[in-house]
């Protein structure tokens, strides 16, 4: 997957925030996923159409005790999972 492109949440995806994370729900497919706090932070950045590298920078500033490479790995794997489950899509041609 090309992580130099931006990603955004698909239409109608519902994010229900909790203290320690959030539920993601796609009413079209019925897919439901619980994401933890750092994943929620990542998802919220997606909604602002932030580039992946900027997201990693931002998360590193929030979780500076975690290795930056680890954050990058986690973000990329999280994005791949969200794409596979059709919660998000790459912003093609933009």
């Amino acid at each position: 997957m090309d992580f130099s492109q931006r990603f955004r949440a698909n239409n109608n995806i519902i994010l229900r925030e909790e203290d320690d994370g959030a539920f993601l729900f796609d009413p079209k497919t019925g897919n439901l996923k619980y994401i933890n706090r750092s994943a929620k932070d990542t998802f919220l950045l997606l909604n602002r159409e932030t580039e992946v590298s900027q997201m990693i920078d931002h998360l590193f500033s929030l979780y500076s005790d975690v290795d930056r490479e680890q954050i990058q790995k986690d973000v990329e794997s999280f994005l791949m999972e969200l794409v596979e489950n059709r919660f998000i899509s790459p912003c093609e041609g933009e």
Binding site: I14, R16, E18, F23, F25, P27, K28, G30, L32
Partner: protein, 303 residues
């Protein structure tokens, strides 16, 4: 030929056409406690028999296994229907129409109007086999549009309050209700949950595993109760209650315990998402470990 069925606060009319009229005695049997004198309900489903004689029925076959039920691409279903001998375009199909196959039948559902169309695709005496389940699927869609659903659970009313005991097939729901002889059982497999006047209520439904001949008592048919708590059943060698997080309860309900959830419209799924989120955060949620020879109510009421 028509009959109207009352489900929670919703009346649904079933109209049987042509050969399908032969299913009237079956429908009268299935829904005998739920028949309503009104000629027209809030929603209507029309049932007829259609020859599945032309090829290209849009079912995604799986090698080595027969398909029990499946959501179908409506566009492909519409194209297939147009080629079917005897098909009349009496049901408007749009991109919003939901199409589903079950056993040997086809259900079309329009979320905007709550209208349904069932085609029984096999001719002969066996053609009515899928009707019971197809009607269930249709009722689930009608209720879904109103924010209600059938829940994989047993519903027991004690002191005018409803207790829901959730479980997959084989989890022990029918066994469990036998432990409650002094209380009213609304269903041991698919009671209806609906929001009314700001509270969540449970209603009886014609869908249950209980002795079909015996059916439900007349008093039970008229009953509904405010939901008091949700209990996820676990067969065990002792009785105990174990707290379950709201998140876990909510995830399990949405993923496993709403009958026909994948077949509902996006609007219905959204409404149920909101409702069960609220339910799980307002009501107590537990795992209930139970065994058939021990009193479970002491543990439930003790909490």
């Amino acid at each position: 030929m028509e009959l109207t069925v009352k489900l929670a606060e919703t009346n649904v009319t079933i109209s049987l056409l042509g050969q399908a009229k032969k299913a009237i005695p079956l429908c009268n049997l299935y829904f005998r406690h739920f028949l309503h004198p009104d000629q027209k309900g809030d929603a209507e489903v029309v049932v007829s028999v259609l020859k599945k004689s032309n090829a290209g029925f849009p079912l995604r076959e799986k090698a080595g296994s027969s398909i029990f039920e499946q959501l179908l691409p409506t566009e492909d279903v519409a194209a297939w229907l147009k080629k079917s001998p005897g098909y009349t375009e009496d049901f408007p199909i749009s991109e919003k129409t939901i199409s589903a196959f079950c056993l040997g039948g086809l259900l079309l559902f329009s979320p905007d109007t709550a209208a349904g169309r069932i085609y029984l695709l096999e001719e002969g005496p066996g053609c009515f086999k899928p009707l019971y389940r197809l009607l269930w699927m249709y009722f689930a869609q009608v209720l879904g549009e109103r924010g209600g659903c059938f829940l994989h659970s047993a519903a027991v009313v004690k002191d005018e309050e409803g207790y829901l005991f959730m479980g997959d097939s084989g989890a022990g729901k029918s066994t469990f209700v036998k432990l409650c002889p002094e209380y009213e059982v609304l269903s041991d497999d698919g009671p209806i949950i609906s929001r009314r006047d700001g509270e969540y209520r449970v209603y009886p439904s014609p869908y249950h595993q209980m002795d079909f001949e015996r059916g439900l008592d007349k008093e039970v048919i008229q009953m509904s109760a405010r939901v008091k708590g949700l209990y996820f059943l676990i067969k065990d060698d002792r009785v105990s209650l174990e707290r379950i997080s709201k998140k876990e309860a909510f995830s399990m309900i949405l993923k496993r315990y709403i009958h026909f959830f994948p077949y509902l419209s996006a609007q219905a799924k959204s409404a149920l998402f909101d409702h069960f989120f609220e339910v799980c955060y307002e009501l107590p949620t537990y795992y209930l470990h139970f065994r058939r020879d021990q009193d479970v109510w002491k543990a439930i009421i003790g909490k």
